[in-house]
Amino acid sequence: MLPFEYFEPATLRRASSLLVKYGADARILNGGTDFMVRVRQHFWKPKYVVNIKKIKGLDHLTYSKNQGLRIGATATYGRVEADPVVRQRFGIVSASAVAVGGVQIRNLGTYIGNACNASPAADSTPTMVAMGAKVKIYGPNGARVIPIEELFAGVGRNTLQAGEIVTEIQLDTPPPNTGFIYIKHSPRSQMDISVVGVASVITLNPDNGRCVDARIALGAVGPTVFRAKKAEAILKGSELTGDVLSRAAIAAADESSPIGDVRAPAEYRKDMVGVLTRRATAYAFDMAKSGMDVRKQQAIAIELIT
């Protein structure tokens, strides 16, 4: 590993000013699971490293009815996965954590680090995008809040400005009659990178059974994790018949632009977007229709992931 100068700022303000001062020569260290690999492989060559884990108040994991769930920048997957409130109210969030790495990686890595590194194959991100998560960003000119997908600029690139630090993810409490699922497709069930990841969140009108909201987020099949908005438009307002699901699946496949690599050819990924969008949406629909409780949904999600 190439040497660097190391800082442990105690405040966001100090961390931010270090990032401004050293610009492109500086890197944030959070969970470190991407950082260590990329620095070791000389893919990143930071001269200055700013560890944000010693900043107080960044590791929060809180829930309230009004504010929903707040996941702090340095809260690890392991903590989120094990948290009883998350399990009870945001089952898909703890299930999506299980899709990431193995136990040891989850005790280090963070949702926010995963999002900021903007890998199109990031396993925790499609769920967040499909759930309509927002991120709060601290910066030299004050704080701002944006939808999480607006963080992604391209493969490995985010939209943060100099001195900006993402401090938390914000998730609203989902409405009743909502089903969630994340399906990860990869050669190995654990410790592997997704070939395709599909998160589907479906909300039904309990009176007529029609879909009132649909959010589908795709991973590993474009330069960023993104929402399949054409597929969503087909589902929204419709009765979710087999025909409607199939049309949405085809639309999602059309919206994807995967590359081929050692894990899978591009054509295969595109086909699998269709297959998995249909499957994920059918699961989410069934969950929403049956009024399945969050824990049960979580158990199914984990079973599909592992």
């Binding site: 590993m1 040497p3 442990e8 490293v49 790495g101 193995g102 040891q104």
Partner: protein, 157 residues
């Protein structure tokens, strides 16, 4: 480039040392503290041979900077036994012959121990999930799973 002074709390002992900020916890523990039970397999967080506990949670120590681990509670495989008396998981690995070349074993024992500390009655599926971040290249995990199952008895008692 200058070294940083840090205090590492390893196996309930405080160790003072000077390290370069870019040194990993794994390299530091192995090379500076001469605790070589934790192994360096892939050095990129995939194989789990370097598993240690940080504040009680298993982590791949190749993915942690030594400077970042300062002030936290570190447990290595050497910290599990009491002198020559092996821990229940270690003993079970011996009794079940859950070892071939042995390189992955310290990491597997750490993962098994972490699981049983939280969940003294795991199912086979839960054991397999708990060791999914540990790779053995000799062959099979069957005896490893059996050993952890057997060790569970002494945790749930």
């Amino acid at each position: 480039m200058k070294k940083n002074f840090i205090i590492l709390n390893v196996n309930e002992e405080e160790r003072e040392l000077y390290v370069y900020p870019h040194r990993s916890l794994l390299d530091t523990v192995r090379d500076e503290l001469q605790l070589t039970g934790s192994k360096k397999g892939c050095d990129e967080g995939d194989c789990g041979a370097c598993t240690m506990f940080l504040d009680g949670n298993p982590v791949t120590s190749c993915m942690v900077l030594a400077v970042d681990a300062a002030g936290r509670r570190i447990t290595t495989i050497e910290g599990l036994s009491n002198g020559t008396k092996l821990s229940p998981v270690q003993q079970a690995f011996v009794e079940h012959g859950a070892v071939q070349c042995g390189f992955c074993i310290p990491g597997l024992i750490m993962s098994g121990t972490a699981l049983l500390t939280r969940n003294p009655n795991p199912t086979e599926e839960e054991i397999r999930m708990a060791i999914s971040g540990n790779i053995c290249r000799c062959t099979g995990y069957t005896k490893v799973v059996e050993a952890i199952q057997a060790a569970a008895a002494s945790y749930s008692r």
